[in-house]
């Protein structure tokens, strides 16, 4: 069986940067800039797919930024490079922002192979949307939602954020109700993190955010309302109806291979982590120097040559993860999934004994009610999920 990998494609453009956002994205760029970037990106996709031609693509995720601002002709450049590498029906997701979706675009996406849409709604309350710096109203969202639904997308996800400044439980509850009425197949429910360097971080402090009890109520409300409507939680922040868990996102938690292309994108292939430069000028420069084709056969990921070939491309790494890091990641990523981790798989993957490594800690955390162990599966309990940062830190070696 071929090794699999997921492909992430980063489109770092937006109409306007949202007030809470610390993702790598640029608002209001000209089509000339975008086209130059896409030229570099398609080149990188081509080289990457060539380099990993021995691997099988398991999912694709086009994220951003706002990929849906791309015109069909621009997106076509990307699709073009992908088609021949895709075999069979794999999950291909595109992130969309309300207000950037048209019927023509949606039809083109569908025809181009996109089969999953992740819609950034964040809130169904117009005041909150305004505060977040979103370019759309709830009405705008509904129009976009109708379009993608009409165009035949039947794997649709909605992103929500709770714990907004001055948000009340009843406001948030209303957002949940509105979203549930739309019957999306998948919901990602995050809670707000004030990230340094964002306008939110500058504007708001602890006092502006809902207090701990309110925040917790919203968080519990998410779980109870969604569970009541046929969604199951499969990851700390992710809920799906049966059969609609995101294959792509699960790759991250299960430590599958993934290749990130585009500005600042992170990758992990065969236990080597590396990231693209976050500097646009550098990114555009180095795609032309990107070594491809025959040369690549002589490059081993283990060898020093790697440095010379990729030095320019990658701002971080490549870092070959040692066994300790791999085991740590296995735990703190795997436990984010509600199904938890499989202890036998851990033992066979690392040729070690789980209980010798973690037995004592695990027993204590089970006794305290934060972990549960059933047979070979170890998972966070509900109480454990609530304080998962503390629990997961226990698994750093």
């Amino acid at each position: 069986m071929k090794n699999k990998f997921a492909l992430y494609i980063h489109i770092p453009y937006c109409i306007k940067k949202c007030n809470y956002c610390d993702f790598l994205s640029f608002p209001g760029c000209s089509s000339v800039d975008i086209n130059r970037y896409l030229a570099a990106l398609t080149e990188e996709i081509k080289c990457g797919l060539d380099f990993y031609s021995g691997y099988e693509l398991s999912s694709i995720f086009i994220g951003g930024g706002t990929p849906s601002i791309l015109e069909n002709s621009q997106l076509d450049l990307i699709f073009d490079g992908l088609h021949k590498s895709i075999s069979g029906e794999i999950e291909i997701t595109m992130e969309c922002n309300p207000g950037t979706v048209t019927k023509q675009k949606a039809a083109f996406w569908h025809a181009g192979g996109i089969n999953r849409i992740s819609m950034g709604l964040q809130s169904a309350n117009d005041d909150e949307l305004k505060m977040l710096g979103r370019i759309h109203t709830y009405e705008d969202f509904l129009r976009s939602w109708d379009i993608i639904s009409e165009e035949g997308f039947c794997n649709r996800s909605i992103d929500l954020i709770s714990g907004l400044p001055y948000q009340t439980v009843s406001n948030y509850s209303e957002t949940l109700n509105r979203v549930l009425a739309l019957k999306p197949e998948h919901i990602s429910a995050y809670s707000l993190q004030l990230e340094e360097g964002t306008p939110f971080f500058e504007t708001y402090g602890e006092d502006d955010l809902p207090d701990a009890d309110t925040d917790r109520k919203m968080y519990e409300l998410t779980d109870s309302k969604l569970s009541g409507q046929g969604y199951h939680r499969y990851e700390i922040s992710n809920y799906a109806r049966d059969g609609f868990e995101s294959i792509h996102n699960k790759t991250y938690w299960q430590r599958g291979n993934y290749l990130g292309v585009g500005l600042g994108a992170a990758s992990m292939m065969d236990n080597i982590r590396f990231s693209n430069t976050r500097n646009m000028v550098k990114y555009l420069e180095c795609h032309t120097g990107f070594v491809s084709g025959d040369n690549m056969d002589t490059v081993s990921w283990e060898s020093d040559n790697l440095g010379t070939v990729f030095r320019e491309r990658y701002s971080d790494g490549p870092e070959k993860l040692d066994k300790k890091s791999q085991m740590e990641e296995y735990m703190f990523l795997g436990l984010r999934l509600i199904q938890g981790i499989d202890i036998d798989s851990f033992n066979s993957e690392f040729g070690t004994d789980f209980d010798t490594l973690f037995g004592k800690k695990v027993k204590k955390l089970i006794d305290e009610g934060f972990l549960s162990r059933q047979g070979n599966r170890l998972s966070l309990t509900k109480a454990g999920i609530d304080v998962s940062n503390i629990i997961l830190a226990e698994f750093l070696l």
């Binding site: 429910a189 995050y190 809670s191 993190q193 917790r216 609530d386 503390i390 750093l396």
Partner: protein
Amino acid sequence: MDKSKIRNFCIIAHIDHGKSTLADRIIEQTGLLTSREMQAQILDNMDLERERGITIKSQAVRIVYKAKNGEEYIFNLIDTPGHVDFNYEVSRSLAACDGAILVVDAAQGIEAQTLANVYLALDHDLDVFPVINKIDLPSAEPQRVKDEIEDVIGIEAQDAPLISAKNGIGIEDVLERIVTHVPAPVGDEKAPLKALIFDSVYDSYKGVIIFCRIMDGTVKKGTTIKMMATGATAEVVEVGYFGAGQFIPCDELAAGMVGYITASIKNVKDTMVGDTVTDLNNPCEQPLPGYKQVTSMVYCGVYPADGAKYPDLRDALEKLQLNDASLFYEPETSIALGFGFRCGFLGLLHLEIIQERLEREYNLDLVTTAPSVIYKVHKTDGEVIELTNPSNLPDPSTIEYMEEPIVSAEIMVTKDFVGSIMELCQERRGRYISMEYIEETRALLKYELPLNEIIYDFFDALKSRSRGYASFDYELKGYERSELVKLDILINKETVDALSFIVHAQSAYERGRKMCEKLKEEIPRHLFEIPIQAAVGGKVIARETVKAVRKDVLAKCYGGDISRKKKLLEKQKEGKKRMRQVGNVEIPQKAFMSVLKLDEE
């Protein structure tokens, strides 16, 4: 050497009144040192001292001055520590001198500490002459300060040199005055050796270097010396005098001279400050008066933050003690903190200095417990225990009564703040003795205060409540019976021995409550609720609760950027490393010093 050409003197000043700067100028202008050789402040050669702007260990320097009368004079300038913790050392340095320069800031006038040191100098029959410094300051009032010196101290001040040590103004005047106003030493070179130890330092090549003033007789290489108090004997290897920043060997030291002796002595404990050095084979009859065994006033537990560093801490203390005979330590164990040492200090400043040196020079990360004084515990069976560690207090039912040390304190403060300072003294269980106005705007307050009320933060409180205008000096008066109780702190129902302290019964509730509040701030939330209780004799008198963490989840873990997620978890783990595990609870190291900060608000 002609004794009439020797002048042995010291400089007395309040902190910041310019003692070290004047010393530098004197050394500079006597020409023995080029400017290039000058460190910024020669007498203060420890980094720490420089940062704090104070001098800790006494040192001496010998310089040559060619006076206006054409004669060359030897000046021995003996430096004195400027803090109340080192009062005894000051008194021994003064005893090595024949005269003293009193430096008074032209703007600030006399301070409590100045006064205390001047009285000390007069007690030692030193001839004191004043110098008014910082006359170039816009706020200088030399005439007012002169009058003040005459009124308060009662020494002639109208012809005092007006100088600016910083800008080198009037230094010549000072030098001439040393010649004319400091008496030449007396003493008989033919009499048996009698020398006063005023300091000693340990040198890894030479062993202990004794700093001494020869009162009678002579000492040279080969003399077998005896320290009269400690009884230690040794054969002299070298004698010499103090060049600026270096030791200059000479053939002999004779009566009237100041210099050093080395004799391959291994331990500074053999050469205690104030002891008398004599010739074993031709001893003097009586030692010099004034020798006291230094006793620690303040004790605290010192523990390595990382238990594995215990041997490092022991080695460091051993090395520090080589140079500091007043540092006391003995091993102790704490349930909360593991293996460490109970250390005794001259005072809180001394404690802080040692703590900083351990951390800085020996690169140790320390946890220190709240400082404690020595309590006398009179048991029902007649036994008297000197208690230095509160957690060792015997069962209350076996205690007849307890005594605590009391100090006589003098506080000098400007009129406007008399009220708030008196209030402070009342709060600290002070007993009012007297108040006199030493001039129209300034009062000298005398109080008796329990030492345990002033070792924590009294000095800081004094400064903040007087906007820096109060100065303070104290000496131990004796022990008094007092209603004392041990306050225990329970964290998650377990008594944390390192947090126990002795407190006056009337303050127990207040202190206990504040302590719980403080600890509530210091202890991070855990996965479970943590009660923090203060108890006296098993009875809980205050309680706070650190609530359990109910939500700590990184809901947004997007994309493949795992390293960021890991960094966050690592930060969480790092934080835990700086904690002490007591039962199930992780207590941050600084929480153990909380008791010191109860009056911060």
